[in-house]
């Protein structure tokens, strides 16, 4: 009889221990990144290194800028980030510099070759790459979970509301214009399926590059001439040559001056799928309102 | 045809061959005796080099070539390489190897994989280099030699194989008269020791110093006979359209070009 009592207490002890451990594991931080990998942290990482500008901006948007110990060389917003140590670019990161900064977590793009190398060195890597508006929301959620920020959802809602406000601010004459957004002078265009395309769609304008061509197709300049957009959006460096392209000087948009030219800083805002998408929407809306016929 | 009645070292039966689709050899039947120095001569484009390559089994051909009675095409490559040594027209790109190393390459058929040079190999290389008077500069690189010196080294390489049959294509290229004379003595010595030497030559006078001559024209053997025989010499004069005359000069036969002769029809 004593033997059976002993057995019960042992079993109970084991059950309790198991529950405790399971509970502890549940309390430990787990995030699933964009590769589908579950990354486990004992606690929320305090030293964060980002190798993608949009991720840098998102961390700061969540108010956790102070946790950043280093970024890639292209991260330049907000101002405080410029003083942080740089570890190279997305294509040529400096592994040694990264290790030297002793990060608890490294945030990078899913397409980066860095992830596996860092993991083999024992660094925790969370791969996140926002490409659409929905992605931005999702990444905010994951980051909020990772950084222990409970109101990540609110931050997103503010941004989203900002985009909506920009859309509502557009006068009627600016809606339903057809727009051509050129990303660089190869020419690569931003199609409907891209992040920029989504913003344009929410502003209520039409993109001459349909989704079926892909997010950033390299198009034939002739295509633009045939589509004859009402308005052209282009970066600063590309604008100079537009009129010199064969057949382009006859484009209605060019003749009427309906071209939105964005400076390099503004272009940065446009192309990064991140917290400044509301600013991007406002820039676009402002220009559309000005230049619409 | 076998003028001397001695064993046949190399024979071709019904051999035809083409190069790049064009027929070059149009049916060759030939028997070359052992212990004999045979020269193959003829006008340009007769197919002499091609015949030599076919005899060495270096070109695809129809018909049969036999080496000491055995079909050469069925012989294992290394066995054939030990029994037959071939010296082609100069196509070397190896300017870095020393004279010694180049000559040692002639011992490849005798060396097994990964084996270093044996005492036999070293002795054979020394004999070959001495025979071509190249021994003293055996440490020089091939690229630093003159044309004639290089030719002597390549000859040494062919000699180093110490094969029963030695086929040489234009062996006198770049050689000055003293070394041509050395070559003559060398070949005569080899034939005297029972080796078979076949040389494609442009120098008719030199060919006339040999044992037999094979005259080739337009892909066929026109004549095969002793070098000293009058019938052979008349055939020679005829194949070259009477542009040469063969004269006796002391103990030697000499071919002299006919100047002032109108070009024949």
């Amino acid at each position: 009889m004593i033997g059976r009592l002993r057995w019960r207490s042992i079993l109970r002890g084991m059950l309790l221990t198991w529950l405790l451990v399971a509970g502890m594991e549940a309390r430990a931080l787990q995030v699933v990144d964009d590769r589908g990998v579950t990354v486990v942290f004992a606690q929320s990482p305090q030293r964060i290194l980002t190798v993608l500008p949009s991720l840098t901006e998102m961390v700061c948007a969540l108010g956790q800028c102070q946790r950043l110990v280093g970024t890639d060389r292209y991260s330049n917003y907000p101002e405080s980030v410029r003083r942080l140590p740089k570890v190279g670019g997305g294509l040529d990161p400096n592994v040694e510099a990264i290790i030297a900064l002793k990060p608890d977590a490294v945030l990078l793009a899913t397409s980066s070759p860095l992830a596996a190398r860092l993991q083999s060195l024992g660094i925790r890597v969370v791969a996140l790459e926002p490409k659409t508006h929905a992605d931005v929301q999702r990444v905010f959620d994951v980051l909020g979970q990772l950084l222990g920020v409970t109101d990540a959802r609110r931050v997103w809602q503010e941004i989203d509301a900002g985009v909506e406000a920009a859309a509502r601010s557009l006068p009627q004459r600016a809606r339903n214009l057809s727009v051509y957004f050129e990303v660089n002078d190869a020419p690569y265009a931003a199609g409907e399926a891209s992040f920029i395309g989504e913003t344009l769609a929410r502003l209520g304008v039409r993109n001459i590059v349909p989704a079926v061509l892909g997010p950033f197709p390299r198009i034939n300049p002739e295509y633009v001439v045939r589509a004859n957009p009402d308005l052209i959006m282009v970066g600063d460096s590309g604008y100079a040559d537009l009129a010199r392209r064969p057949g382009w000087n006859n484009l209605a948009a060019l003749k009427a001056g309906r071209v939105c030219v964005f400076s390099p800083e503004q272009s940065d805002v446009m192309v990064r799928p991140g917290p400044r998408m509301a600013d991007a929407a406002r820039l676009m809306a402002h220009c559309l309102a000005n230049k619409a016929p | 045809m076998n003028p001397r009645g001695t064993p046949v070292a190399l024979a071709a039966r019904g051999v035809t061959a083409s190069l790049d689709g064009a027929p070059v050899l149009l049916g060759i039947d030939l028997e070359l005796a052992a212990g004999c120095w045979t020269s193959i001569v003829g006008p340009n484009g007769a197919g002499k080099s091609t015949l030599l390559k076919v005899l060495a089994n270096l070109l695809p051909h129809e018909g049969q070539v036999t080496l000491a009675g055995q079909p050469i095409a069925e012989m294992p490559a290394r066995m054939r390489a030990r029994k037959l040594s071939w010296l082609g027209q100069y196509e070397t790109s190896g300017v870095d190897l020393t004279v010694y190393d180049v000559t040692m390459l002639g011992r490849l058929p005798h060396q097994s994989w990964l084996a270093t040079a044996s005492a036999l190999d070293v002795a054979a290389v020394e004999r070959a280099l001495r025979a071509t008077q190249a021994w003293d500069w055996r440490a020089r690189a091939l690229g630093q030699l003159s044309g004639g010196e290089r030719q002597r080294v390549l000859l040494a390489r062919a000699l180093a194989v110490e094969a029963e049959v030695l086929l040489m294509d234009e062996p006198l290229a770049n050689l000055d008269p003293p070394h041509q004379a050395d070559w003559l003595a060398l070949v005569r010595g080899l034939a005297a020791r029972g080796k078979t030497v076949v040389s494609v030559l442009h120098e008719i006078s030199m060919a006339l110093q040999g044992d037999t001559i094979v005259i080739m024209a337009q892909g066929r053997v026109q004549y095969h006979g002793a070098a000293a025989a009058a019938a052979t010499q008349r055939a020679l004069e005829q194949v070259f359209d009477q542009r040469i005359t063969i004269l006796a000069l002391g103990a030697y036969w000499v071919a002299v070009p006919n100047q002032g002769q109108a070009t024949s029809a």
């Binding site: 294509l91 070759p113 | 030990r82 300017v95 020393t98």
Partner: protein
């Protein structure tokens, strides 16, 4: 045992001296290379106390530097084999299209597997190396097919350039159709030892040992080939099989190096010439010396790439071109020795 007469001594001694010098220089520069990086010499000084410094030196700099040496050794080996096999001093793993073939292989494998090129796990690494190897072999065979054999130098080089350009274009097409691999491929074509870890080193070391052994065993074939193809056959060498074996060595060496470090040009071309300018010898020694020279070249270039503008890095391909090309240029403008290549 009677000492065999005559193997001429001076060249043999020189070969030994050169080999020893290259090895010694490699050791010296290896130590120097481990001492440089974005965190400078501090990491060495703090080795005992700071575990991060330890990790930097042992897990990052050491395999990187050794990896540079091994990749250079593979490329030098491939260059010597290529130049001997094709009897052409301009033959080089890049000029024969094998490097473009290797990158195309990696691109196809990336698309098929969705992994990144510099993964640490063995299997993925072997898979990508295998794909690079297959790509390299395919490219060289295509070049040989187009050139219809190795007889004609000009045709061979032209065919190699064509194959390189076409396969490169195919790789670019893949990148355009699948932009998700574009970033990985772009990082790959920059050419860098930045992602080389210990497993990559082990892989390269294995490939080098295998390739060097086979090439060393077949060195006499290359010597025989230098006398001309017909002569080589007349010496009883089974050319087709031996050539195939050497092409496999060429492709394995190029493919492995390219898969681990990306595209680093010029080492395979320059290393054999650099060796020739110092000592002329049989292929048995030449291949090994060329390998050691390539290794040293890339090691030094990589060290300089990391230290010249520290904490930033220069692309290592620029430095191999400057170092190797600079020396070759100097050789070219000297009054030449009679009969030498330069």
């Amino acid at each position: 045992m009677k000492r065999p007469p005559v193997q001429p001594d001076p060249p043999a001694r020189r070969v030994g001296t050169v080999a020893a010098a290259l090895l010694l220089a490699s050791v010296v520069f290896l130590c120097l290379a481990i001492a440089v990086g974005s965190t400078g010499f501090e990491s060495i000084l703090m080795l005992r106390q700071d575990p991060v410094a330890w990790q930097i030196v042992v897990d990052i700099r050491a395999p990187r530097s050794l990896g540079a040496w091994l990749a250079g050794a593979l490329l030098g080996l491939a260059g010597a084999v290529a130049q001997g096999l094709f009897r052409n001093p301009l033959a080089d793993p890049y000029l024969l299209g094998s490097a473009s073939g290797a990158s195309l292989g990696v691109a196809v494998a990336l698309v098929a597997s969705g992994a990144t090129p510099f993964a640490g796990e063995w299997l993925v690494q072997l898979g990508l190396t295998g794909a690079a190897f297959v790509g390299a072999v395919a490219a060289v065979l295509l070049t040989l097919l187009l050139a219809r054999g190795v007889g004609h130098s000009l045709r061979l080089l032209l065919a190699g350039v064509v194959v390189g350009v076409v396969l490169g274009a195919l790789g670019q097409l893949i990148m355009m159709l699948r932009p998700d691999v574009m970033l990985s491929m772009q990082a790959f074509s920059l050419g860098s030892t930045g992602f080389v870890g210990w497993s990559a080193c082990a892989l390269m070391a294995g490939a080098w040992i295998a390739g060097a052994l086979v090439a060393w065993a077949l060195a006499s074939v290359l010597d025989g080939l230098s006398l001309g193809e017909a002569t080589a056959i007349s010496l009883g060498l089974p050319l087709p099989q031996l050539r195939a074996a050497l092409i496999v060595v060429l492709a394995l060496a190029t493919g492995t190096a390219v898969a681990q470090t990306g595209l680093i040009a010029f080492v395979g071309l320059a290393a054999p010439h650099l060796v020739r300018s110092i000592v002329k010898t049989r292929h048995q020694n030449f291949i090994l010396l060329s390998s050691l020279m390539g290794a040293l070249l890339l090691l030094v270039a990589d060290g300089l790439a990391r230290s010249l503008v520290a904490p930033q890095e220069l692309p290592v391909g620029v430095l191999t071109a400057v170092l190797g090309g600079g020396y070759l240029l100097w050789l070219l403008q000297r009054p030449g020795t009679r009969g030498g290549l330069l």
